[in-house]
């Protein structure tokens, strides 16, 4: 079922993608109006231009750009009447610049260079991966566990994030738990830089260490930096390589493929994380992963066969009801069990 839906989608998106890329070269922005216009008029003009040129989400795109331009987050939270006021020349030009970017299929988050994740507003910059709403729920799961077990506040707890991108997960955790420390790693220098930038904007840099490490290539350095962490969190690249062809141009042209492509079965990085996890986690530390809905059963089977010290705890669904999150726990080794019995 899944397969079939996806491949149908693939054909559709694929075609659109190809057509879209030609279109970009051909279509240009509408001429800057000679007289002054209102935000509402500018929005209507661009919206229909987006529709003509096959830009996805034409309404939302124009709304977010206008809201950003007028100093709000969403058009719904804009003050009454602001939409019908005339735009200054400067604002109009700015609107044209931003919308022209969107016309090239650049994601809105990169166009306005920021987006919200839970309570935080984060800086966004291509090609660093744009956090998806599902990941807000991943943070929820981690927080729920850490808050539950975190009664003994004397103990300094650390969490580790693999593939931090813009820093969304680590920074949210740090923001919610003032006692927590975090280590974040990413294979991309751009991501490491952006995470650091977001951390200092939010004043969380003192409790966060960010490293430029590729866990696939440099496992040893990775292991030497992190030990006895309470939680390992990751939204690793989990797309199946074949699905990379089906992505919208917003994703395939602007986001780092290394943050998306999880290899043939989407498990390349996940397997590496789970292999290294027992050496990194304290006991009983947990691993929290966001994955493709096809993954949980595969991961459970693979871990049971290959990683003796890790125990598969549960699969959690996202709000749309898809199996989206895997939680695993480090098991005490047999030797520890015996000690317990004594």
């Amino acid at each position: 079922m899944w397969r079939r839906c996806l491949s149908a989608g693939c054909r559709r998106f694929g075609l659109k993608g190809i057509w879209g890329s030609h279109a970009v070269r051909r279509c240009s922005a509408p001429a800057l109006p000679a007289g002054r216009i209102t935000a509402l008029q500018a929005g209507d003009l661009w919206r229909s231009h987006f529709v003509e040129n096959g830009v996805t989400e034409p309404d939302h795109s124009t709304h977010y750009i206008i809201a950003y331009l007028l100093g709000a987050k969403t058009i719904e939270s804009l003050e009454q009447g602001k939409l019908t006021e005339l735009l200054s020349r400067e604002k109009t030009e700015q609107m044209w610049q931003l919308c022209t970017k969107r016309l090239s299929r650049m994601p809105v988050q990169y166009v306005i260079e920021e987006w919200d994740f839970r309570d935080l507003t984060l800086k966004m910059r291509s090609p660093v991966f744009i956090p998806r709403p599902e990941t807000e729920e991943l943070v929820e799961l981690v927080l729920r566990d850490l808050e539950e077990t975190g009664v003994g506040a004397d103990e300094q707890r650390t969490c580790l994030e693999v593939g931090c991108g813009s820093g969304a997960i680590s920074l949210s955790l740090l923001n919610s738990l003032p006692q927590l420390k975090a280590i974040a790693v990413d294979q991309s220098q751009a991501a490491v830089d952006l995470t650091r930038e977001n951390a200092s904007r939010l004043g969380l840099q003192d409790r966060l260490q960010v490293y430029h490490i590729d866990v696939m290539k440099d496992a040893e350095t990775f292991l030497s930096l992190c030990s006895s962490v309470s939680a390992l969190v990751s939204n690793p690249p989990y797309l199946f390589s074949e699905d990379m062809m089906t992505l919208d141009p917003e994703i395939s042209r602007f986001e780092d493929h290394a943050a998306l492509d999880g290899g043939k079965d989407g498990l390349r990085v996940i397997r590496q994380i789970l292999t290294l996890a027992p050496q990194i986690l304290s006991s009983p530390g947990r691993v929290y992963l966001e994955v493709d809905p096809r993954h949980p059963t595969l991961i459970r089977r693979w871990v049971e066969a290959n990683v003796e010290e890790m125990h598969y705890v549960e699969t959690q669904q996202d709000i749309t009801g898809r199996p989206r999150f895997c939680i695993l726990q480090k098991e005490k080794s047999n030797k520890d069990h015996k000690l317990d019995l004594d």
Binding site: E57, K73, T74, S77, T84, Y238, D243, P293, D318, I319
Partner: protein
């Protein structure tokens, strides 16, 4: 506020001046109608459906002249001394169980401030009698002194009476809650929507005036800048206690901006004020919810980058719906929609409980506040009239700022409601003892 002050300006010579709001033409001798319900867990409405409702506010003096109030206060004093005796004597006699004792101890500490005030009042009244004898003295200097003293005492009596009334009037369950405000355009198309936007802004101003937080949840605008529907979460000290009087149908009479021939239109909008339940007092089973998002179709996750973060939540057993697209974060939208949904469900629950109670008592009152016409904004006469208490104020523009004028209207409503509650309480207490 102004009215409260007027009430306190009472002692003037021998006569107390009490303010009468307005005497409707069909005034009946019993000036207040009461509806009864359980004072411990009530949702209090100003009943307004009946045109016979007589709007007269009694002064503290008049209230204290009522036998029922005196009787009630006596009863409280007796209860207090009985409990006090039980608590003090328990060690020797041991005729009460531990639970009974605890209840009595609580009662003592609950009643203590009231009893204290009653005793102070009695002392002051004695003083007044004493000064009155002194006023017959031959020495003019002494008489003048006595006169001064007497005036001071009367002022104290006035303050104490008000304090006692405040202590006697019970708080409504939800009074301490935060709330969700909902405005919806009613009859009148675009004009009704424009008016809805003005009223919504008025309450935003009112929240600001009181230093409450005002957090937008839903906001559905019309093409002309009006509002079809909007909701906001309001929190701050006493916000529900005050805002609850704003619930109902508001009517506007004016020549709309959209009207070409200069004709006067009448349009309406509805205000709902829903107390926001705490997590503990009201739970919803997550299985009863269907959460709808843009991401429900397609693969989701890393496959998709959508900026549509709107969330819609349906409560399946009741079909009640809440949605939010105020925020860029989907999770924040979900939290806000959930907040709105909880308030809606909670208010339905409260309504059911209330109407059940009224039905049991076979009392005829108007339906819930939201369907009653409570206020008219007449632009031609530049007046606002509240139909529940027959009060009229002028200057619509200032009123819509949500500042002093609205506050004045609101305080009057508060006082009427307090008096109603007091009457209910006395009636009940009477029935209990007879």
């Amino acid at each position: 506020m102004a009215y409260r002050r007027a009430l306190n300006l009472l002692p003037r010579g021998k006569q107390f001046i009490f303010r009468v709001f307005q005497k409707p033409p069909n005034a009946i001798s019993q000036t207040l109608r009461f509806h009864m319900n359980n004072p411990c867990s009530r949702t209090r409405n100003l009943h307004t459906a009946t045109p016979l409702m007589v709007a007269k506010l009694l002064s503290a003096e008049e209230l204290f002249a009522m036998r029922s109030l005196q009787g009630y206060l006596k009863k409280m004093e007796m209860e207090y001394s009985e409990c006090l005796r039980a608590v003090n004597s328990s060690e020797t006699e041991e005729q009460f169980s531990e639970d009974e004792l605890r209840a009595k101890r609580t009662k003592v500490s609950l009643l203590a401030p009231l009893i204290q005030s009653i005793r102070e009042l009695e002392a002051k009244q004695k003083e007044v009698t004493e000064t009155e004898t002194l006023m017959k003295d031959e020495d003019p200097a002494l008489r003048e002194l006595a006169e001064l003293e007497r005036e001071g005492c009367l002022q104290d009596i006035q303050d104490l009476s008000q304090k006692i009334l405040d202590l006697v009037i019970p708080e409504e369950d939800a009074d301490m809650s935060d709330l969700v405000l909902e405005v919806t355009a009613g009859v009148g198309g675009q004009e009704a929507m424009l008016f809805t936007a003005e009223v919504f802004d008025m309450y935003q101003g009112y929240a600001q005036h009181h230093g409450w937080s005002f957090d937008l949840l839903e906001h559905m605008t019309s093409d002309l800048g009006g509002l079809r529907h909007a909701s906001a979460s309001i929190s701050g000290p006493q916000c529900y206690k005050r805002m609850k009087f704003e619930a109902g149908v508001h009517r506007v009479q004016r020549v709309p901006k959209t009207e070409k021939q200069g004709r006067m239109h009448t349009s309406t909008m509805t205000v709902a004020v829903l107390p926001q339940p705490t997590e503990i007092s009201f739970t919803i089973n997550p299985k009863d919810l269907r959460i709808e998002t843009k991401r429900a179709s397609g693969a989701g996750g890393q496959h998709v980058n959508t900026t549509d973060s709107a969330v819609r939540i349906v409560h399946l057993p009741t079909g009640v719906v809440a949605e939010c697209q105020q925020e860029r974060s989907q999770l924040k939208n979900r939290e806000k929609a959930m907040k709105a949904l909880r308030a809606k469900l909670y208010s339905i629950k409260l309504e059911e409980a209330t109407s059940k109670r009224y039905n049991q008592r076979k009392l005829q009152i108007g339906t819930r506040g939201r369907s009653e016409k409570i206020r008219t904004y007449n632009f031609a006469q530049d007046r606002i009239t509240d139909h529940r208490i027959g009060m009229t104020v002028h200057d619509i523009k200032s009123f819509l700022l949500g500042e002093d004028l609205l506050e004045e209207m609101n305080s009057s409503l508060q006082e009427f409601s307090n008096q109603e509650t007091l009457m209910e309480l006395l009636e009940e207490s009477n029935q209990d003892s007879s």
